[in-house]
Subunit: 367 residues, 2 copies
């Protein structure tokens, strides 16, 4: 069966989808390529003569059927390109992986998917925004796709899981390899409630070059890509570029122009990406406002604030602030500041910490 040879080639040449499609083209089938001698791989397949002998050795030592059978025991599915379970959106990109290694279950093809990507070292602002938007989008039925990296990726997965939503983690290593190590538990949770996916065979280490290759799958699985915080020249911007090349939409969360991590999103917005202020923008872009009911508490427009509330709210951040500090900075009487804080708590914008300090709520509605 041809499928087995595709599987074999993907195992031998991981992350080289474009090359495999070319190879199938040149040899008529990957079965023919698999059976071809080294000389023909060079002459017809365009392989480097210096590396082809090592490849041929690996090929003869590799038993695709045994490897495929072995996956089942590891709880890993291999979803072939022409399998009905293969994600339709991914099938449409220029260089789709011939197959996907999957732990967990892929979402139904009909569900809208959003990639949420960003910096590995975000600010508290970026983290809070990524988690909250992913949570609200997931609650509205959107599949949240990301890369399980530190920072924004992890926050996006966590947000989707906290809403009981479906989330897909696309790895730059094997689906049995935990990277980064600290995400072991998050990865298990995703495999249990969503899917962990890779085009790299089990056991593949997280090599640096895998990640840009992997990014095309993140955007390719998704109807749109949301960039939360990203430095210039970052992986998240590569993903955004790929989304555009794949004809998908790009969305971005703006930030202060003095923040290097908002330079990426701000520049994307200048180039035409949709500015996202809240989940309503995401749902509108995905065209799902009519299909899914918004969870209660999620509003399109933020709650109205009185003058005092607004004066106090502006001075709050994710750094705990004392009432005294807020009184001093707002130049309002303490009584008014306390009243405003109380109403801001009721509006779920502000949280009181033990000790009487106040911070912005990380997952409160209405930015």
């Amino acid at each position: 069966m041809d499928r087995l040879y595709w599987f074999g080639w993907q195992w031998l040449l991981p992350g080289a989808a474009k090359r495999l499609w070319t190879l199938a083209d040149r040899f008529g089938s990957l079965r023919a390529a698999w059976l071809a001698p080294a000389e023909e791989l060079v002459n017809r397949g365009g392989f480097n003569p210096k590396t082809v002998y090592e490849l041929v050795q690996r090929r003869s030592a590799f038993d695709p059927q045994a490897a495929l059978d072995g996956l089942a025991g590891q709880g890993i599915d291999y979803i072939f390109f022409d399998d009905p379970a293969y994600p339709g959106a991914l099938r449409q990109i220029f260089d789709p992986p011939p197959g996907l290694f999957v732990r967990g279950r892929l979402p139904a093809a009909t569900r809208p998917a959003l990639a949420v990507v960003g910096s590995r070292r975000p600010t508290p602002y970026g983290l809070a925004v990524a988690e909250r938007l992913a949570k609200e989008a997931a609650a509205a039925g959107v599949v949240v796709v990301s890369g399980l990296a530190r920072g924004i990726d992890s926050a996006a997965h966590r947000g989707a899981l906290s809403a009981g939503g479906h989330t897909v983690a696309v790895l730059g290593c094997g689906v049995d390899v935990v990277y980064p190590r600290e995400n072991r538990r998050l990865m298990e949770e995703i495999a249990a409630g969503g899917a962990v996916v890779s085009e790299f065979p089990p056991g593949s280490p997280p090599e640096a070059w895998h990640f840009p290759v992997r990014n095309r799958i993140i955007s390719g699985l998704s109807r749109a890509t949301l960039v939360v915080e990203a430095a210039e020249k970052s992986g998240a911007l590569i993903t955004a570029d790929m989304a555009l090349e794949q004809g998908r939409d790009v969305l971005a969360v703006p930030g202060g122009i003095a923040s290097p991590l908002s330079r990426g999103p701000n520049r994307l917005i200048k180039q035409g990406a949709r500015l996202v202020e809240g989940v309503a923008d995401i749902l509108e872009e995905l065209g799902v406002t009519a299909l899914f009911k918004l969870p209660s508490g999620v509003e399109s427009s933020p709650p109205r604030l009185t003058g005092d509330e607004s004066a106090v709210y502006r001075r709050l951040s994710y750094e705990p602030a004392t009432v005294d500090k807020l009184v001093e900075e707002s130049a309002l009487p303490a009584q008014q500041v306390l009243a405003a804080l109380m109403f801001l708590e009721v509006k779920r914008l502000v949280r009181q910490l033990p000790g009487g300090c106040y911070v912005l709520r990380e997952s409160g509605p209405g930015f």
Copy 2:
């Protein structure tokens, strides 16, 4: 002379430009209206019978020539609508003031002007951004127009003055009235180095209704209006609306979606306002790139990269990198890496250092 009657009517009915243009239309001239009895002002002029007698009393007690003569002694000019010194951009709006009271000197009509507006109670971020952008725009020859209010307005004026640039303060009171009080010194500096302007006669107090009326002059004097920080439903957004009605451009500085004061600018950007990250965006919007030299580091849109170029470019930073390192990290053949580097050099994205290392160009375009 007709001019004297225009002056008289503007003094009697300050901030009612639209009404004066209508009056001139209905009576053929404002001289005729000035000489008309109360009944005719009601029947033909559409004045309220209850208030017309008080108006007529004030009219007969007022000597326009004496008032005009008195202005000179106060160092105040009255620039009439058909005066060559009357700002051409303002003349084009729907309801221009018949004349402007001016302390200082108006800029040459050929100089591009930018309105900079925003919150009276900005965050430190907004203040810093307003002052810096105004300074850099002024240094490039742009006239900075604002309203001398606390917060963003004051920061914009200060920024322009600190660059030795021209700045225009448009008041909602007489040009001899200091409001807010703390801006006395700033107002004097503006009158000395730029212009303090109002359509309200000297002595007019800063009544609340004056400010939205005044805002149309801020936008009307300017080729574009920049909103730095603004709450929803704020004066700055009214000015932005007026700019749009006047066919002028609106620009906005983005901010975090958790900041209530960035809600105004972010929403404007969603509606099509240009996102401003730096002075280059302002100069480009004003079309002054050709007239004034841009500071280095100002970029245009990024050039397209091939796959190899992009793979290599992504791995470059401001730290010198060897070709070997780039080959290893990109997993591309050395020949392809070298070719990509050559093209990246041609595209002025990358610089070769002595010793064969490569770094990003500091002022190179693109991400």
